[in-house]
Amino acid sequence: MSSALPWSILLLPLASAVVILLFTLRSGRVSSFTSVLAALAAFLCSWALFTSENTRAIELTWIDLRPLLYVPLGFVIDGLSKTMLLVVTGVGALIHVYSLGYMRNDAGKSRYFASLSLFMFSMVGIVLSNNFVMMFIFWELVGVSSYLLIGHWFERDAAAEAAKKAFLTNRIGDFGFMIGILMIWSATGSVVFREIAMQMPQIIAHPGFLTIAALLVFCGAAGKSAQFPLHVWLPDAMEGPTPISALIHAATMVAAGVYMLVRVGFLVQSSPAALGVIVWIGTITAVMAALIATQQSDIKRILAYSTLSQLGYMVMAVGLASGEAAMFHLFTHAFFKALLFLGAGAIIIMLHHEQNIWNMGGLAGKLRVTFLTFLVGTLALIGCPPFSGFWSKDAILALAYTRSMPIFVLGLFTAFLTAFYMTRLLVVVFLGKPRTDAARSGREAPIVMTVPLLLLAIPAFLAGFSFVATRFLPLPQEKEAVALVPVLATLAMIAGVTLGVVLYRNREREPLNIALLRKRFFFDEFYTWLIGVTQGTLARLSDFFDHWIIDAGAVRGLSSATWGIGALLRLFQVGNLQAYSFLFGLGIVGLIYFTIFR
């Protein structure tokens, strides 16, 4: 029985995806209920697994080429994966329910729910994998399902482009990840986490090798968790349906990178050089994304950049060698960010797909439940005590304070920016007067959409209290060490909120105009240029190769060799078959000479 639970958590979503694809593609209604039921059942199983004491790892043989390669089909079941399963299936189930409302009239409803189930399957797979090979495969499957979901409205060019961009950017990271896995495998002869952990002393003897391997593995995480410089795909991914943005691009998939880094923490933490790089990447992402977020006008993009920034915090925590702090923030962030996205989704759908915040305004009175829950999410995100975000962000900042002052200052600055842009968002969208007809006619969302909002608001408020959080995951210890940090963080938050209120109260349009931030530091333009140049060079190179090496060398060389033999044989005045038999005999003579007389 105990081993049936993880199996059912993994396979229920897969079964739902298969059933939908094979049988119920015609009926969106049946498909959606199949998918929602599977997600709810998976959540219940996760809960049962969480409460059970079972930590026995399950291992079936998958590929057995020992001593060369042994890949088990194994699950790792410990506190970390149990909590992560709870987050993934819990948030996932709520978003399934919410999607019932959001996608009610969508033409591709069956396809949507099939992809959603596929995504749940792959995400659960990442969480449960006990070895690199399995994790990599599920990693790629997550990439595929994310591609399908971002590009759900593929008839819109922007969505198709965004899906492609997300997939390709992830591929870059995954390539590094794969090389990292191969390096670790070649050094330890194993791909199973437990065995690698036991072999670590051998690799630590080669710090250079270890650093490169760890950074390559981090490369995979940077792709999935959208860290600088591979962050460009996440904002574009907002072209997908909003529940997808909430599930994949806020709560779960982007957290997979962080989860993976924590899972292989033994590897990353044994290389100080790699940790140094990771912490700075995280910090740069956090600050940069927060800066960009202050100047965006699309509600989902603001939240997307905010996600980037919060992921930066998590990676920062990983870089500060505290998996606990990273997981803590991941845990709280999953709830309040999903809540914010779902709230944004409710606004968007009620305003008939209006996403520009300057076309909204004064919605607080009309979408009351949405407003209140959104407020809870915002307070949690900006770290207002005692909301959940306060505790987890504080844990990271305290960690930074004890380890490195510049990181701490930048972290504090990010906290200030977060409070600023979220206040801006709240003020412009919910307060003031409605600026368009759409905003004037807004109504409250249907109950299938508000119930998940309410349900998510509870953990968004509660999840940070230590008496709640310790039930789910171990908390970092540094938290109590410094009393100054929470005070400073709260001050930064208050400053941000004040500035936001002062600047944006009763504005009709953007008072600030900073092109560099609005254009997102010109990353997309730079990448376009870079890809153009490399592609051109590569194309010219391969053209050269094809033309001069293959055509001229191999092909002409061979054909002239054939011709040469033919000419040689024509000297004997023989026909084709005779030539063949002659060559045959020649071959035999050659072999006999080679074997016996040499």
Partner: protein
């Protein structure tokens, strides 16, 4: 149940089909093929109930000729599965057979019986007789559409060169017999390890036998016939030739080498042959524009990879490679038949824009090409992986280097086909029709290729009992 029941029932099935063909004149001849497929399926099922046992060196009478060890059983199933698939392909190409459709379906069953005998043969006499049974039926099959001059040419070439190689095989067997006084492989091996062995004549016989087998597996320098014969023969027969005949050659090679590897020169010889085969097959495939010819050269290249496994004494690697080779080759030939039926030609340009005309066929072809090239998560990848691993463990560095370089070469010509299917625009837009049976078969093959690429354990387990026939006897 004795293992020999399988071969005997295959023979009886073949005879039965032949008599049906002769006596039931009005019968739709396709029924015979369905009957054959069904019968072979039953035999395949029965093969899981026969008792396998290790080789018994002191056996007498029939059992000194015939071994029912796990390796033999594995290859018997291999032969049965191949023949069933080939019969399905033959059904698809039946419209192009002018006369004698019934025999066209009955002959592969005799070939199959020969292949099964061959898998069990542990005596030169038995090897020769079963080899002849296979070869004779191929003589007929290759030239089946003889009104086509290309086919006729292929048939004549195959007949003459194959007879030549058989001659050398028998000559080699006589020499070995002359030196050792034995035809049983186990006893030949024992005689070869005697210190007072006359080395030169023994080697001479061994080389001649290897020549005969080298022809069967299309190793350089006995590969000359391949391109012409593959191109000229009916496509289903080509597929059979490139899988069944080759697999039988390899299983005999594995058995024969258990005796010959006692002579150090033999391994050196095989390394040289493997390198030459790898280079020739891959380079010659590069400029091909005819897909059938391309597959012919690619089958030479794959013989090279298989030889790498043979040289590295890894029965498991060879077995797995052959299984993956079976799947991807038969899949590509099936698509080729279907497309050629509609396009009328077998040039790569006939595949232009196939993805638009029939996404299913294009997908099938793409999977088989990727697997042939050895892309991860396909069966072909694991086959190469195991072969290379075996070679590295035997410290055959030169061999591995050549093999890896030629793999890269292979990507070029396999991807050429994919490019034609997905990037070129089709010459005509008509969708391509094919039977439901073929669709099911192709789907099954695709699933098998991917499954084995992701989860190779079943075959590995089946082979773990069967592996190392070479070292088992040393």
């Amino acid at each position: 149940m004795q293992a020999a029941v399988l071969e005997i029932s295959a023979l009886v099935l073949g005879i039965f089909l032949l008599l049906c063909e002769a006596f039931a004149g009005a019968l739709d001849k396709r029924r015979l093929a369905y009957g054959g497929i069904f019968g072979l399926g039953l035999i395949l099922l029965a093969s899981f109930f026969v008792t396998a046992g290790p080789l018994q060196p002191d056996a007498v009478g029939f059992w000194s000729f015939y071994a029912a060890d796990p390796l033999a059983l594995f290859f018997k199933r291999f032969a049965l599965a191949t023949t069933m698939l080939v019969l399905i392909m033959m059904l698809e190409s039946a419209p192009r057979i002018q006369s004698g459709l019934g025999e066209f379906f009955a002959l592969p069953i005799f070939t199959c019986a020969g292949l099964m005998w061959m898998a069990s043969a542990i005596d030169f006499v038995m090897i020769f007789v079963s080899l002849e049974l296979v070869t004779m039926s191929f003589y007929v099959l290759v030239a089946y559409t003889r009104r086509n001059p290309v086919t006729l040419e292929a048939g004549v070439k195959y007949l003459i060169l194959s007879a030549l190689s058989t001659g050398f095989l028998v000559y080699g067997i006589t020499w070995v017999f002359g030196v050792t006084g034995e035809t049983s492989l186990a006893r030949v091996a024992a005689a070869f390890s005697q210190p007072n062995l006359e080395r030169a004549p023994a080697l001479f016989g061994a080389v001649l036998i290897l020549v005969g087998l080298g022809f069967k597996i299309a190793a350089v320098p006995f590969q000359i016939w391949v391109a012409d014969v593959y191109q000229g023969a009916p496509t289903a027969v080509t597929a059979y030739l490139s899988v069944g005949s080759k697999a039988a050659g390899f299983v005999v090679l594995l058995r024969v080498l258990s005796a010959f590897f006692i002579l150090p020169q033999v391994q050196r010889l095989l390394v040289a042959v493997a390198i030459a085969t790898l280079i020739y097959g891959n380079l010659a495939a590069l400029p091909q524009t005819n897909l059938k010819r391309l597959l012919g050269y690619s089958s030479i290249a794959h013989a090279g990879y298989l030889l790498v496994g043979v040289v590295s004494f890894s029965g498991a690697a060879v077995g797995f490679y052959l299984v993956s080779y079976l799947l991807m080759t038969l899949l590509s030939f099936t698509v080729l038949i279907v497309v050629a039926n509609s396009a009328g030609g077998e040039e790569i340009s006939d595949f232009d824009g196939l993805s638009k005309r029939s996404p299913f066929l294009a997908l099938a072809m793409m999977i088989s090409m990727l697997s042939l090239a050895g892309v991860p998560f396909t069966a072909g990848f694991f086959g190469k992986f195991m072969v290379f691993d075996a070679a590295i463990q035997q410290h055959q560095t030169a061999l591995v280097v050549v093999a890896v370089v030629t793999v890269a070469c292979g990507f070029y010509y396999y991807l050429k086909v994919i490019r034609a299917m997905y990037w070129e625009s089709p010459a005509r837009a008509a969708p391509i029709a094919f039977s439901q049976l073929s669709r099911v078969t192709m789907t099954g093959l695709m699933i098998a290729i991917i499954t084995l690429g992701v989860y190779p354990q079943p075959i590995l387990r089946a082979l773990s009992d069967a592996s190392h026939p070479v070292t088992a006897q040393r």
